[in-house]
Amino acid sequence: MTISRGVRVAALILLGSLVLYLVLPLLATLLFALATRWTTTILPERLTATWIWQTIRESRFAETIRRSLTLGGVVILVDLVLVVPALVVMAVTRSRWRPLLDAASLVPYAMPGVVLALALIRFYGMVFPALLNTPWLLGAAHAALALPIVYWAILNNLKAINLYDLYEAALTCGARWPQILRFVVLPNIRTGMAIAAVAGFTASFTDFAVANFVVGGSWLTFSVWQGYVMHQNGHIMAVTSVVSLVVTMVTTFLLIRLARETGPAPRTARGG
């Protein structure tokens, strides 16, 4: 069955249009970040780096970037500490727990950001009000948000290395649990942990909905600050958007590189 010339041309036009559709908003944002003035003309009047310097000089910029980076790091750590031991134990001695853990890992997909935020605020408002409006609750929320990504990245890696055989071989050689973990498990799931870390970090860094409601202005993250800046200064907003784009591009590049070693790259997107 051959593809006719007309169908081929139409398909390639569609593909070209989508590429344009994906690139144009990014290009417009980049240009606006560099434009002296761009209000009534089709293209910017002149280009400048003023807005970049002004954004960097904003006290909130460094503060919120630092917070979001720290939060992303903590989220990765919490998820890896929770998921890696649980999945290793499941893979070697507790395989019957697999359906429950699989189901648990999918729960975040049934709770979009704004719903998760409301649920946490309502629940902890009843059982532990001191936790409300704290970065601790946000950290827990983001760890829950990134859980499916981390869980499936580690599980896919564990499947690929056939951990049970390695475990039995290590036992035969007289290794104990700490040695097995350090010298057998962790070196073999390095790639899975790296994928989980990058994808989990992106999920935390780009989240607006959960952070906006769980901590809001009391502990501004970079994404929430963007939401405020959008209504104050478009040029600074454009510069912060370029920062988001760079973070997204770098993490995507890392994920693709890492996925080449194990399989397809995990998606971090939960919708806008």
């Binding site: 390639l12 569609l14 593909l15 989508l18 994906l22 908003p25 417009a28 944002t29 009534t40 089709i42 293209l43 929770l82 649980a86 134990v89 070697v92 001695t93 395989s95 019957r96 853990l101 648990a104 999918l106 729960v107 975040p108 997909y109 049934a110 979009p112 704004v114 719903v115 998760l116 409301l118 649920a119 946490l120 309502r122 629940f123 902890y124 049970y164 036992l171 104990r176 649990w177 780009t206 607006f208 906006n212 409601f213 809001g216 994404s223 963007q226 939401g227 959008m230 478009g234 907003m237 454009a238 958007s241 988001s244 591009m249 993490t251 590049f253 693709i256 998606r267 971090t268 806008g272």
Partner: protein
């Protein structure tokens, strides 16, 4: 998975039948309970209890309130429309990438698609405002082209669909493309040998194989669109009659705070819809997996 054996160092607590190696699993289960399941149950509980008694008053209020009914209808229609258009375009693009372009272009495009699915929320909305807002580049270009001011209505149902497609179409491409591996060359050749024309191939071979993954992509896109908050929040702002369930939830408990019980009810509805989408997605993907073995 092979038969489990006891791990060395796993301490056995006699009489209780509890082994220490269960602790990491329990820790993960407790975390999910404390951050997801417990809070979700609290939402459900709050939405069906009034004054200490079971009550459907919250849901009655939602269904009788014109604004809430409209938010539900708009959310469902928007998610369905965006998912339908997104799946149709995404499937055509995935087929194009699968059959008509080289490996190098495909890899570059997939990298761009991955960036697009992850670049959502407020920055994306801002990018579209720069293009299609009242002073947006495309708005000005179109106005210059026709000779009078044209208003592209971004704060509208189809305006939101257009923005949603930015992350939904690439999401569909990324989920549907791997399923196209099932469309093996042998199948196409076998059909051709038996004299099947293009229509027959798609009607009896290609269609039935690709329908489950296509439906799965639709369900995924629907759930993604339904749960979107930051993009519509940034586009709609406060000055429009257009309202969605997620935006209403944010408004009710975040900004207005006058009827949190209704926010609970709307959130429970979203959880039920998203959970149903997830179950359907899993069933459809397990059917797809048969053809990928």
């Amino acid at each position: 998975m092979k038969t489990a054996v006891a791990a060395p160092g796993a301490r056995v607590y006699r009489g209780v039948g509890f082994r220490a190696d269960l602790l990491p699993i329990l820790l993960l289960v407790v975390f999910v309970g404390a951050t997801l399941v417990g809070p979700a149950i609290a939402l459900l509980w709050n939405s069906v209890m009034a004054g200490g008694h079971p009550s459907a008053a919250v849901y009655a209020r939602i269904l009788h309130g014109h604004g809430f009914r409209q938010a539900i209808a708009t959310s469902l229609l928007l998610a369905t429309s965006a998912a339908t258009v997104g799946t149709a375009l995404g499937a055509l693009l995935a087929l194009t990438l699968h059959r008509m372009v080289g490996e190098r272009f495909r890899s570059t495009f997939l990298a761009l698609a991955t960036v697009a699915t992850n670049y959502g929320g407020v920055p994306l909305a801002f990018g579209f405002i720069l293009l299609l807002g009242s002073q947006g580049t495309i708005t000005l270009m179109l106005s210059a082209l026709v000779g009078h001011k044209i208003f592209v209505e971004l704060v509208s149902f189809w305006g939101l669909v257009a923005v949603y497609l930015y992350f939904l179409v690439p999401l569909c491409v990324l989920t549907f493309l791997p399923a196209l591996v099932a469309l093996r060359t042998e199948l196409i050749e076998a059909a051709a040998v038996h004299g099947a024309r293009s229509y027959h191939f798609w009607r009896y071979v290609g269609g039935p194989i690709l329908l489950p993954p296509l439906a799965a992509s639709f369900v995924l896109l629907f759930a993604s669109a339904l749960g979107s908050y930051s993009t519509p929040w940034a586009i709609i702002g406060g000055g429009s009659d257009l309202t969605l369930m997620t935006v209403q939830i944010g408004f009710l408990f975040g900004e207005a705070g006058y009827d949190i019980a209704v926010a609970d009810g709307l959130a429970v509805m979203i959880i039920l819809l998203a959970a149903a989408s997830l179950v359907i997605y899993q069933v459809l993907m397990s059917r797809t997996a048969r053809w990928l073995r």
